[in-house]
C-alpha cells in the first residue's frame, strides 16, 4: 500500500465519520417543535410545566441554542471528545454510562461469534475444497448458501423457538441467572456461557457462510498454482501441502474478512440481542426506541458506527502488514 492509498483510506474514514456526526447533530434540530415543549408535555398528570417567555429564553441561552449552528456543532464536537454524550431520559444518567454498562455484553458475544464462525468457516471451507469433486461438497454448499439468505434475527427467532421454547434447553432471556449465588468464578463463567450460547450461535451461523465460501474459493484458486505442484513434486505429504502451502496463503483474505465481520456483527447484534433479550447495547437500543429516549439512541448509534468504522480502518492497516505485496 503506497502513501497515496493510505491517505485516501484515512481521508475516507474522516469524511464518513464527519457525515455520521453531522447526521447525529442535525437530525434532532431538523425536527418540528423544540426541546422545551417535549420536556414539559412529558410530565404526566397535573403538574404540567408551562414556561414563561423569560424562562424559555433563559434555557435557550443556557443550552446555547441561540448561537449560530456552526458554533453549536463545535460545542457538540468538543463535548463528544470529552466523552459527554448527553443525559439519558429513561435511565436518568449520562448516556456514556448506560452504554458502558451494556457494551461489554455486546463485545463478548460479537468476539465469540467472530472467533467461532472464523474457525468453523475455515475448517468447513478446507473440507469442502478438498472434497470438491464429491457430492458432500455440493450438499454443504447449497445448505450453507441457503442459510446465509435468512437474516440473522429471523434465524435467531427460529433458534430461540427450537432450543429455548420447544426443547427448553436454554434460557429465553438475559445474560446471567437473576439473583444467582455463585460458588466459584468457574460457576459464574459457566452461567454466562450458558446464557450467551444461543446469541453467539445465531451470530456465528449468520457469518459462517461468508467465511466458508471465501476459504473454499481461495483454496481452490491457490490449489491450481505452480508452487502447490512443486510442493507435491518434492514429495511432501498431502496434509503438509494443504496446511503449510495452500491454507497459509488462502487465509489472507479470511483475515481481512474477519475484521469486516466484527463490524457487520456489531450491526447485526442490535436485532439479535433484541430477539434474545440479551442486555447488550442492541436491546438497550430497542428499549430506547420504544421509550423515545433520543439522546440514548444517538449515543448508541455513535458508538456502533465508530466501532464499525474503526474495525474497517484497522483491517486496511493490518492487511498491509500481512501481505508484503500490498505494502509496496
Amino acid at each position: 500500500m503506497n502513501e497515496k492509498d493510505r491517505h485516501a483510506i484515512i481521508f475516507r474514514f474522516v469524511l464518513t465519520l464527519l457525515v455520521i456526526l453531522a447526521l447525529n447533530f442535525f437530525l434532532p434540530r431538523m425536527m418540528p417543535g423544540d426541546p422545551f415543549s417535549t420536556t414539559s408535555s412529558d410530565v404526566q398528570g397535573e403538574d404540567i410545566v408551562v414556561m414563561t417567555e423569560e424562562q424559555r429564553e433563559y434555557y435557550i441561552s443556557y443550552y446555547g441554542l441561540d448561537r449560530p449552528l456552526p458554533e453549536q456543532f463545535l460545542v457538540y464536537l468538543s463535548n463528544l471528545v470529552q466523552g459527554d454524550l448527553g443525559q439519558s431520559i429513561y435511565y436518568k444518567m449520562p448516556v456514556i454510562q448506560v452504554i458502558l454498562l451494556h457494551l461489554p455484553w455486546t463485545i463478548l458475544i460479537v468476539l465469540c461469534a467472530t472467533a467461532l464462525s472464523t474457525v468453523a468457516g475455515v475448517l468447513l471451507g478446507t473440507l469442502s475444497a478438498r472434497n470438491r469433486k464429491h457430492g458432500s461438497d455440493r450438499l454443504m454448499m447449497t445448505g450453507l448458501i441457503g442459510f446465509a439468505e435468512i437474516p440473522s434475527f429471523l434465524l435467531g427467532l427460529i433458534i430461540l423457538l427450537i432450543f429455548g421454547v420447544y426443547l427448553r434447553l436454554f434460557p429465553l432471556a438475559g445474560a446471567v441467572t437473576p439473583f444467582a449465588h455463585y460458588t466459584s468464578v468457574l460457576d459464574q463463567a459457566g452461567d454466562i456461557a450458558y446464557h450467551a450460547f444461543l446469541p453467539v450461535l445465531t451470530l456465528s451461523l449468520a457469518q459462517l457462510t461468508g467465511v466458508y465460501l471465501l476459504t473454499r474459493n481461495t483454496l481452490i484458486t491457490v490449489s491450481t498454482k505452480d508452487y502447490i505442484r512443486t510442493a507435491r513434486a518434492k514429495g511432501l505429504g498431502e496434509k503438509t501441502v494443504w496446511t503449510r502451502h495452500a491454507l497459509r496463503n488462502a487465509l489472507l483474505p479470511v483475515v481481512t474478512r474477519t475484521g469486516f465481520m466484527i463490524g457487520m456483527l456489531m450491526g447485526g447484534a442490535i436485532l439479535v440481542e433484541s430477539v434474545f433479550s440479551y442486555p447488550g447495547i442492541g436491546s438497550t437500543l430497542r428499549s430506547a426506541v420504544v421509550g423515545r429516549d433520543y439522546p440514548l439512541i444517538q449515543g448508541i448509534l455513535l458508538v456502533v458506527a465508530v466501532s464499525i468504522l474503526l474495525c474497517n480502518l484497522i483491517v486496511d492497516r493490518v492487511y498491509a502488514r500481512l501481505d508484503p505485496r500490498a505494502a509496496d
Binding site: 429471523l154 429455548g164 456502533v304
Partner: protein
C-alpha cells in the same frame, strides 16, 4: 380499407410481440435451475396473495373479528392475535406491504442509481468524481444503525421508510452501472458510432442500456430482499408504521407480548409471519442467484463486480 389493413398489421405486430415475449420468458424460465424455478413460483404465489388479499383473507385485517388469541380453526384459519384480529388476513395484507416496500425501494434505487451511474460514467470529469466520492462514503456508512436513528427521528410511516431505504441502497447500482458504462465507452465500436454521428441519447439507448439493464435487474432483486429485511428489522424494533400490518409489525407485536414463549400462542401468532418472510427471502435469493448466471455469464467470471 387502408385503416383496417393498418390496424390488422398492428394487431399482428402486437400479437407477435407478445408471442416473442412469452417465448423469451419461457426460454429464460427453462434455463433456471430447480431452485430458481421454485423461487419464481414462490414469489409469484406471494404476489398473487398480495394482489388478491381482499378475496383470500375472508376478514379485514384491522377489524376485531373473533375472540382474543383463538387457536386455528375453520373460522380463523391461523387463529387470532391478542386483539382478536384474524392472523391469516394479516399475513395476506402483510404480503402487500413487504412486496410493495421491497419493489418500490428497489425500483427507485436501482433505476435512479443506475441512471446516475450511467450519467456519471458517460460525462466523466467533476460530476463523476463528486458522485463516486458520495458513493464511497455512503457505502462505508454502517447502514442499519443509521437506519434506526433516522427513522426514529423522522417518525414511523411507510413513505419515510421507503425514502430512507432508497437513500441507503442507490450507491451500489450507481457504482456498478458507472463502471459498466466506462468499460463500454472505451470500446472502438462506440467511437465508430460516434464518428457516424450518433448522439449521446442514441449511444445510451442503443449501446449502453442493453448492457447495463440486465445487471441492474439482478441488483434490483437483491435490493428488494435488502429492503424487505430492513423494513422487517425496523418494524421488529418498533419503528414500523403502527397502522400497517406488515409481517415485521406482526413479529414486533408477537414478541412484545408478555410471556408469549410460556404459552402456546407463539405457534400460530409468531410462526406464520416468520415462515412467510423466510420463504419470500429464500425465493428471492434463488431467483437472483440464477439470474446472475442466466442473464449475464460475465458476472460469474468476475464474481459479482
Amino acid at each position: 380499407m387502408t385503416t383496417r389493413f393498418i390496424s390488422y398489421t398492428q394487431n399482428l405486430q402486437i400479437l407477435s410481440f407478445f408471442r416473442d415475449m412469452f417465448y423469451h420468458l419461457g426460454k429464460t424460465f427453462s434455463r433456471f435451475s430447480t431452485e430458481g424455478k421454485i423461487g419464481i413460483c414462490g414469489v409469484s404465489l406471494i404476489i398473487l396473495i398480495a394482489v388478491f388479499a381482499p378475496l383470500l383473507s375472508g376478514y379485514p385485517p384491522e377489524k376485531i373479528t373473533g375472540k382474543s388469541l383463538e387457536p386455528p380453526s375453520a373460522a380463523h384459519l391461523l387463529g387470532t392475535d391478542e386483539l382478536g384480529m384474524d392472523i391469516w388476513a394479516q399475513i395476506c395484507y402483510g404480503a402487500r406491504m413487504s412486496i410493495f416496500i421491497g419493489l418500490a425501494v428497489a425500483c427507485i434505487a436501482g433505476l435512479g442509481g443506475g441512471a446516475l451511474g450511467i450519467l456519471a460514467g458517460y460525462l466523466g470529469g467533476a460530476a463523476d468524481q463528486l458522485l463516486m466520492r458520495t458513493v464511497d462514503v455512503l457505502m462505508a456508512l454502517p447502514s442499519f444503525p443509521l437506519l434506526v436513528v433516522i427513522s426514529a427521528f423522522m417518525g414511523p410511516s411507510i413513505a419515510n421508510v421507503i425514502v430512507i431505504l432508497v437513500f441507503f441502497s442507490w450507491a451500489k447500482p450507481a457504482r456498478i452501472s458507472r463502471s459498466q458504462t466506462l468499460s463500454i465507452k472505451s470500446n472502438t465500436y462506440i467511437t465508430a458510432a460516434r464518428n457516424f454521428g450518433a448522439g449521446p441519447c442514441y449511444l445510451v439507448r442503443r449501446h449502453i442500456l442493453p448492457e447495463v439493464l440486465p445487471i441492474l435487474f439482478v441488483l434490483i432483486i437483491s435490493i428488494t430482499s435488502y429492503a424487505i429485511i430492513a423494513e422487517t428489522g425496523l418494524a421488529f424494533l418498533g419503528l414500523g408504521d403502527p397502522t400497517s400490518k406488515s409481517w415485521g409489525m406482526m413479529l414486533h407485536y408477537a414478541t412484545g407480548f408478555r410471556s408469549i414463549y410460556f404459552t402456546p400462542f407463539w405457534q400460530w401468532w409468531l410462526l406464520p409471519p416468520l415462515f412467510a418472510l423466510i420463504f419470500l427471502l429464500l425465493c428471492l435469493a434463488f431467483i437472483s442467484r440464477d439470474l446472475e448466471q442466466v442473464l449475464d455469464p460475465r458476472l460469474r467470471k468476475n464474481g459479482g463486480a
